[in-house]
Symmetry: C2
Subunit: 119 residues, 2 copies
DNA sequence: TTCTTATTCAACCTTTTGGTTAAGAATACG
DNA sequence: CGTATTCTTAACCAAAAGGTTGAATAAGAA
């Protein structure tokens, strides 16, 4: 569970990847079209897309020689609950947040192997 | 603006730091007490706290020889709006989200110096 | 088949990250 | 004063992140 949060937050920490997500919010896109506005190589964008896919934030489906990238916003539900629990900005399912907190803290107090617990 | 999001998401991407935030949600703590449950050096925790402070997620105030760490959940409002806008899970201020999107995407389409725009 | 387009992979490089230990600096205590 | 205690800094290290270029793969087009 915390490993999933690791991947999602790390994926969101890069402005290029957030920009890609914003683009995909408007429409599904092929890799080359995703890369077009950016001042970096296609290979770099391909890596960014792989990071986003590993985090579950997008899905990629190959059709013909194009690979379509599609936003998967459901993956954001997990960190959204986490953050809202902290901020209490909006109505949020407190039970969900309690479970998150418990999982995170239990990971802590086990003392040994704190950081590298398996998912 | 995006630089702030970079820092916040990067700070949240580490499970140790999220665990620290969870601990601080219950009460303010001095650095040594924050470090106590973790299987790593005090210096490492000190660095983690510095990352959290740079991201605006906590504030640290020295009183006597103790340095108190205090959660600042307001910093989470920014990424929370960002994420909710994508997920549309809960009622969210869509105007706020539109502004975020515009800022992120305008950063994109400027083509040159895409990633390293100043804050 | 040959050519072009779309995408990834491999190798490499530099910077950042997350940790260590050891040495400071600042503050309280006896 | 001298001595703990609290916390940060400095120097170092290994691994990961983010980029590059060039070659490889896959699939449509001619």
């Amino acid at each position: 569970m915390t490993a999933k949060l690791d991947a999602i937050f790390a994926a969101l920490a890069d402005p290029t990847r957030r920009a890609i997500l914003a683009m995909l919010l408007e429409d599904d896109m092929a890799v080359t079209d995703v890369a077009e506005p950016f001042a970096m190589s296609l290979a770099a964008i391909s890596k960014h897309l792989a990071v986003l896919e590993r985090a579950g934030l997008i899905a990629q489906e190959k059709r013909g020689r194009l690979k379509w990238c599609k936003l998967d916003p459901v993956a954001l539900q997990t960190p959204s609950v986490w953050m809202q629990g902290f901020g209490q900005f909006d109505p949020v399912n407190l039970d969900d947040f309690e479970r998150f907190l418990a999982a995170e803290i239990s990971g802590v107090s086990s003392d040994a192997d704190l950081v590298n617990e398996g998912d």
